[in-house]
Amino acid sequence: MFVLGVLYAVLITTSAEFCYKDVENVCSQKLTSVLSDDLTLSNCNAKYGGIDSMQIELQAYANGHIETSFEFLLMSTHFGNYESNRVGFKNLYRKLSDSAWEKSIDLIKYITKRGGSMNFNQLPHFKKNEKDSHVLELTEIHSLAKALDSQKQLAAEGLRLHIQAKKYQDAAIAHYLEEKFLESQSDVVRVLAGHTSDLKNMLDRDASVAIFLFDEYLQKIL
């Protein structure tokens, strides 16, 4: 009981420097001035740990996912036209687009959960290989290569952010990145590397039949 009391007292004194103090200030004002609408409780927010240092990085990462998501959508579109006509590839890239879109939304929710805000103008950190930057009408094998590069870039950026989170001693952000990004990223990188390797090995004979069969395979596994 005594320990609880002490703990309570400690909690009160620590918070008194922050939100609690703001509340006291506001509550001690006269009613008329309170009504004048300048009650700012600037310390009553969800921020703690390293979010202030990480916010820009996380915003850029969310924007990177949004951009990646639209790139995959356009790649998917290309394979959906009647000349390419590869439904498997179309579905593969649509799935990657959906996943990047969902992850960007999840990141935005996480940033705001930690007391931050989203800035859609914060440009993504990673740079695209200029040569292929926004060319999206690709052959099947080129598209797999581009997809693999792009996912690896997101994964590498995830690892970099994880190091940053540890540097700012925010295990919560590090854990979030591990659970929501690092884990699934190693899966998708491996799958795409496998696809690239499979298709590459089949391309030296009859490319058109190999790609047809591989596309059917993609349709089945998705």
Partner: protein, 215 residues
């Protein structure tokens, strides 16, 4: 030389096809073009609609992010707008799917969207303001769709009425636009009345209703 090729390959995934032993491209088949009967002005304006829908998605996403902030704390509004963002993205995909079905988008898909996407607002004074912006956005989108319908029904100097597209836009897109606009207008009305007399309390109550799907 062969060793060198392997080395180059190892450097970059994109470099995969630098070797002669691979057949990366397949010869295109001979397909008659006559079945692709959409006319240029109609294709152009429908393609432009993809940008419009994505822009709407991004605007809703910004609203969703704003209402998710700790100091704003309107999870119901945030959920509502994020759902709208997903719907707008699906609209863009629907337009793309339609163009693909009609034999379009065989080249230059990169032109459908430009990166980085144009910037958008980030702050809304309250729920009524955001809903009002949303209604105005949808009204503009409806105008765009009507314009596409007009262009594709009677394209300038070309006697080609695109019955199927016009029917699709009217039945699927306009239907959703008008029901969506009515829904937003109703929400602005209810919330506006509550906030007029009760300000943040009205907004708080309305937010929880939105969150629980009761409105």
């Amino acid at each position: 030389m062969k060793l060198f090729n392997v080395f180059v390959l190892a450097l970059s995934c994109i470099g995969i096809c630098s070797s002669d032993s691979f057949k990366c491209t397949t010869k295109p088949a001979k397909i008659p073009k006559e079945w692709r009967d959409m006319v240029v002005p109609c294709i152009k304006i429908l393609e432009a609609q993809v940008k419009v829908e994505i822009q709407a998605a991004m605007t809703y996403l910004a609203m969703g992010a704003h209402f998710a902030r700790d100091t704003v704390n309107r999870p119901g509004f945030s959920m509502f707008f994020i759902k709208s963002a997903n719907e707008e993205r699906m609209h863009a995909i629907k337009v793309i799917e339609y163009l693909l079905m009609r034999g379009q988008l065989t080249s230059d898909v990169s032109n459908l969207l430009k990166f980085p996407l144009p910037s958008i607002g980030t702050q809304w004074e309250n729920g009524v303001h955001a809903l009002t912006d949303a209604l105005q956005l949808e009204t503009q989108v409806t105008r765009n769709i009507r314009e596409i319908i007009e262009t594709c029904e009677t394209p300038k100097d070309i006697p080609f009425n695109d019955y199927h597209l016009v029917d699709y836009l009217t039945g699927e897109f306009l239907e959703e636009q008008y029901t969506g606009q009515r829904d937003l207008a109703g929400k602005i009305s209810t919330l506006g009345k509550m906030m007029e007399s009760h300000g943040p309390l009205g907004e708080f109550l309305y937010d929880k209703k939105l969150l629980n799907g009761e409105i």
